[in-house]
Symmetry: none
Subunit: 248 residues, 2 copies
DNA sequence: TATGTTATCCCCAGAACTGGGGAGGGATCG
DNA sequence: CGATCCCTCCCCAGTTCTGGGGATAACATA
């Protein structure tokens, strides 16, 4: 069982780390201290993309890393998907309660098990306008998570990710600087996201249809997209609109 | 100085809380136990919006809450802005190092101080596709933060926010059970979400354009929606596709 | 064997979106 | 006062979606 003091010490070391290697070492040490065997500290993007400068520190079994990359699973991994639905850490055994699993997802999880991964704990890391990431710690198969210390594991994960983010920040190209939409544009986009046509939006807002078309034209321009679908999704992604605005 | 055991106890209580009131009480207690005077657990959106189902638990000085709402500061608050740039908690005194402050921001901070707020600590809470949020704890003016326990404060903030999020979500009528899309349909929807036309998707998948149109027709039927924008957003919401698939 | 699901392809007509162009009024800020 | 931004409205041509109606073949399953 790790102590709070150890976590704080790790936090200090991680904050001071200026190279991926230094951070890797610190994370390796604390991973072992917490009783885990493996960890993965990653941004959820195409790991095969050669231009990628994202965060990536991994100590998973070689077999699994290979399978993961060759199968391009970074896009399909149910653990990653689950991490997009919460702000706090979660045990992998609880994933089924968080998202609905496709047969394909079960296959991914089975593949991970057969590569030697047991249960694990993943701490999500989201920053609006940046690619999402997470920090995961895993046991060998058959070993059990120590429920008691999961809060501390979450702290470690958060600090580790932030440290990695700080190191990589200079080189990561943001998806795009989030442009600011005007109030009217946001209202229109929110209604677009609810499947309304320009004409319907115009009726709802009490303006002419041409005006709505114009607002959406401007909004598309700001995001540099050409389709209203992309517009809605980009606005969703950086928080200009939210699911709670849309689904009621 | 609060202990880890107390944090864990709070976590259990918060997780079990089913009403805003129950959570409020728990947060109030632990706020005092941590040596803070005030807290604010909020989604960063228009607090005046009556239809809002957002998280909002606040115990700030009355003066400040009023000023905040009347001035519509939720959009401009530098603390909120700063919370959009990180994944871990930060002391308000460090905000200047995180974002550049306009004269207007200094005015906001000065207003907070004159309402009786001293230094504080804010834990960001982001979930892709939801409005951003944060959990803040504040001292009275003149009192100092206890640096030692900030990691634990961060844990409390995270757990509190997630609990509030869970409660807020439960009060919303649950969306119709997520229909399963076929693999091909999901591929098409993922590409729709990236702004592709049917013709482009057909080229990418190596099939006829009519086929793509058909897949999307079927997918729309399953979700019971009539617009591809809604289709993409619904698929995003229940995890059939993820931002990771889209923004790459 | 019958049934259901999935994936593939085809046609068409009307509705909706997109990207160009333009214009006037009001507010704010230096 | 000029510059800039925001909101409002208008026209047009071309592209794209959407909702109908079909079809065939492969595959699993009952």
């Amino acid at each position: 069982m790790i102590t709070l003091a150890e976590v704080q010490a790790f936090c200090t070391v991680a904050r001071a780390a200026s190279t991926p290697h230094a951070l890797l070492q610190a994370v390796e040490e604390i991973t072992a201290a917490m009783g885990f065997r493996y960890f993965a500290l990653v941004h959820h993007i195409d790991l095969l993309n050669p231009g990628s400068t994202a965060v990536r520190l991994v100590s998973y079994p070689r077999d699994w890393v290979d399978a993961f990359e060759e199968g391009r699973l970074y896009a399909a991994d149910p653990i990653h998907r689950a991490s997009h639905t919460t702000t706090i850490g979660f045990a992998w055994s609880k994933v089924e309660a968080m998202i609905s699993l496709h047969p394909r997802d079960h296959a991914v999880l089975a593949a991970a098990r057969s590569a030697g991964l047991g249960d694990g704990f993943t701490i999500p890391a989201h920053v609006p306008g940046e690619v999402n990431g997470s920090c995961s710690f895993a046991m060998r198969e058959g070993e059990d998570l120590n429920e008691e210390q999961l809060p501390l594991v979450q702290l470690v994960g958060s600090f580790a990710f932030e440290a990695a983010r700080k190191i990589a920040r200079a080189t990561i190209a943001p998806i795009a600087a989030a442009p600011q939409l005007t109030e009217r544009q946001i209202e229109c986009v929110a209604l677009v996201a609810r499947g309304k046509t320009d004409w319907e939006i115009a009726k709802i807002l009490g303006v002419g249809a041409e005006t709505v078309t114009q607002h959406l034209k401007d909004a598309r321009d700001r995001y540099g997209v050409t389709k209203r679908t992309m517009l809605a999704i980009r606005a969703l992604f950086d928080g200009a609109i939210s699911f709670t605005d849309i689904l009621r």
